[in-house]
């Protein structure tokens, strides 16, 4: 186990050194020189989208609430093509017209507004630090179990490895490691799914055990209410259009015509990788009901417990490497967009011209890592609190202005700004009220979904009230981008 983990880190370090030698400009550092091919883009997008939750938290959630947890991943059947149609095509066309490196820059170009650029950068920075902190904590937990370190040093080791290749090689290093890590994730997940089916004697045998012992588990909603499961579908469906670490990758594609096969490749990779999410959760539940495995003390133990009991050692090591891979690829992407927000977006929002971007980009990468590391080393309670709004903050602040705004000429700068601020305020306030216990949501309603729907409504309403300004906010080249 230890030797495979060390081999994995050696490969990642090698990729970092190779990428650092090829990173000479800010364009290389932030958008990989815009020289990325189809397969690299698709695998990297998949690896970035999926975090450690796919391998640890997801199977644990299936074990705990049944098939209702599938509603987190079911939207992937639509989101892969939706992302290509709604975002990839527009953002790739934009970089042919403008020198754009970041999502806030794209929004500034779309709405001719520095305020929109600045506020979206603030939202991204807040979400990046919180998301990174939870991912570093998860990385620490994995390294704690594989390397035998205690948690704090394990978190520091994980953060240093990601920092080393991110600061030296920027997004280029991230892309190359994403391909390596994404393939690792797909192969390991597919193999584990096979072991999961075999361990339970096939799908029919597993279903019969579940139906006789816990029929509610096999309900499509599991133990969730239909409203709660459908809220997952809503947030993880439309919310994918507001994830800047994924959207940012569309700037990097070398040839726009390659987008033709992007949904196909992404769907294939994503489907294979998500097999573990469902397979392990169901298999562990079956084995617990049959008395083969003891009940889990914590749902997050589902994957490690299954690997120990039912898979060969090398495959278990491969999966744990895949978990590490998923976390590290996500953290690297966050570092890239966070550093870009500090280096380019916030200075420009205040009317300043960014200078020496490569050096400053690397410096901000270090600062953001240290900041997230400090948060991750704080109490679990704090990390859990800040971690819950990362995805929601991205979704509620960026889906309307970015995904709708780049496809609807009637969207206005005032609406974009209002929706970003609404998403920011709603997510932070509603999540805080819920966390502090000062407000209790009705069953099935989540703070994230509420903030997302509020921000969408504000976007449409303000666009309608300010509709006479829509035409003035759209330059001719942006009109061409939206007609592409």
């Amino acid at each position: 186990m230890l030797s495979i983990a060390l081999l994995y880190f050696a490969v990642v370090a090698g990729i970092g050194i190779y990428s650092a030698r090829r990173t000479r400009t800010a364009r290389d550092f932030f958008v990989a020189g815009r020289g990325v091919g189809l397969v690299t883009l698709a695998i990297a997008a998949m690896a970035t989208t999926l975090s450690g939750f796919t391998f640890i938290g997801g199977p644990g959630l299936i074990y705990r609430v049944g098939l209702g947890a599938m509603f987190i991943i079911l939207p992937a059947a639509l989101t892969n093509t939706m992302g290509a149609a709604v975002l990839a095509r527009r953002l790739r066309a934009l970089v042919d017209k403008r020198e754009v490196f970041t999502i806030p820059e794209a929004l500034a170009a779309r709405y001719r507004s520095r305020a929109v650029q600045g506020w979206s950068a603030v939202a991204i920075l807040l979400a990046v630090v919180s998301y990174m902190a939870t991912n570093l904590l998860a990385l620490g937990l994995v390294l704690e179990s594989t390397l035998g370190l205690s948690l704090a040093p394990a978190i520091c080791v994980g953060a240093l490895v990601v920092l080393a290749y991110s600061a030296s090689g920027g997004i280029l290093a991230g892309l190359y490691t994403d391909v390596f890590q994404g393939l690792l994730m797909a192969v390991a997940s597919t193999a584990v799914f096979g072991y999961a089916l075999a361990s339970g004697g096939g799908m029919a045998s597993m279903s019969r055990t579940l139906l006789s012992e816990a029929p509610g588990f096999l309900s499509p909603w599991g133990s969730l209410s239909p409203l709660a499961a459908l809220s997952f579908f809503f947030v993880f469906g439309i919310g994918t259009l507001g994830q800047p670490h994924v959207a940012h990758k569309y700037f990097m594609l070398r040839d726009a015509s390659q987008l033709r096969w992007f949904p196909t490749v992404l769907t294939l990779a994503m489907t294979l990788t998500l097999l573990l999410f469902v397979g392990v959760g169901v298999a562990v539940k079956v084995q617990v009901l049959r008395g083969v495995m003891p009940p889990l003390s914590h749902p997050d133990e589902a994957t490690p417990a299954f690997l120990r009991a039912f898979t060969p050692g090398p495959l278990a090591a491969l999966v744990l490497s895949a978990v590490t891979a998923a976390i590290m690829s996500t953290v690297n992407s966050f570092l890239s967009i966070g550093a870009a927000a500090c280096t380019r977006d916030l200075p420009r929002a205040f009317g300043m011209t960014p200078r020496d971007e490569l050096r400053r980009g690397r410096a901000w990468t270090v600062v953001l890592t240290l900041l997230s590391l400090l948060v991750a080393l704080r109490s679990d309670t704090l990390v859990a609190f800040i971690g819950i709004f990362g995805w929601g903050l991205f979704a509620s602040t960026l889906v309307p202005a970015l995904a709708i705004g780049f496809n609807w000429p009637g969207a206005t700068p005032a609406a974009a700004l209002a929706s970003i601020v609404t998403g920011l305020v709603a997510t932070l306030s509603v999540e805080s009220l819920a966390y502090l216990g000062w407000f209790r949501f009705p069953s099935g309603v989540t703070a994230t979904a509420l903030a997302l729907v509020l921000s969408l409504l504000v976007f449409f309403v303000v666009s309608w009230f300010t509709r006479e300004t829509a035409a003035d906010a759209l330059d001719a080249d942006l009109r061409a981008v939206m007609d592409a």
Binding site: S113, L211, P215, S231, T264, V445, L456, D483
Partner: protein
């Protein structure tokens, strides 16, 4: 706030074209996205108004999901793709498939120990996997690739 004070308007651009080039399918897509968003808001408003949440909330949410997601894809359709029947037809089929899949799961009887399995799965799970997962997974990437018009070749 300091940010709003420091941020100024973007400098004006030299040329602008404000022609409303918004094809009917994109208009329909926008209507679906707005309609779907309103349905989600209504579903949550009903849930806040009555505890436990009323069944109407789940019906509204089921209808809202395909409306918003397929609506977003329709909203993004431009140029030759907007006149390509294969893409438009695929969006219609996927919307109906997801809608009927979610509604069927709400309508069909719950699982019991005596439930007959189909392909190793309870009927509701099989319906969900076929209509909400398999149909979009196969149809959307295929239709997107078949009707793709390269940006450079766009109209």
């Amino acid at each position: 706030m300091a940010l709003s004070c420091g941020m100024t308007a973007h400098p004006p651009s030299a040329s602008r074209d404000v022609r409303p080039g918004f094809p009917p399918i994109a208009r329909l897509g926008l209507a679906l996205v707005i309609g779907g968003t309103v349905m989600v808001a209504l579903a949550y408003a009903l849930a806040f108004a009555a505890e436990p949440w009323p069944a109407r909330s789940a019906w509204l949410m089921s209808a809202a999901q395909p409306a918003i997601m397929v609506g977003a894809m329709a909203l993004s359709t431009r140029g030759r793709s907007a006149r390509d029947r294969r893409w438009v037809l695929t969006l219609v089929v996927v919307a109906l498939s997801v809608l009927s899949g979610l509604l069927a799961v709400l309508l069909m009887p719950a699982e019991q120990a005596t439930t007959q399995l189909r392909l190793g799965l309870p009927p509701r799970v099989l319906v969900l996997l076929v209509l909400v997962v398999a149909v979009p997974t196969v149809a959307l990437p295929w239709a997107y690739a078949k009707t793709f018009v390269a940006v450079a070749d766009g109209e």
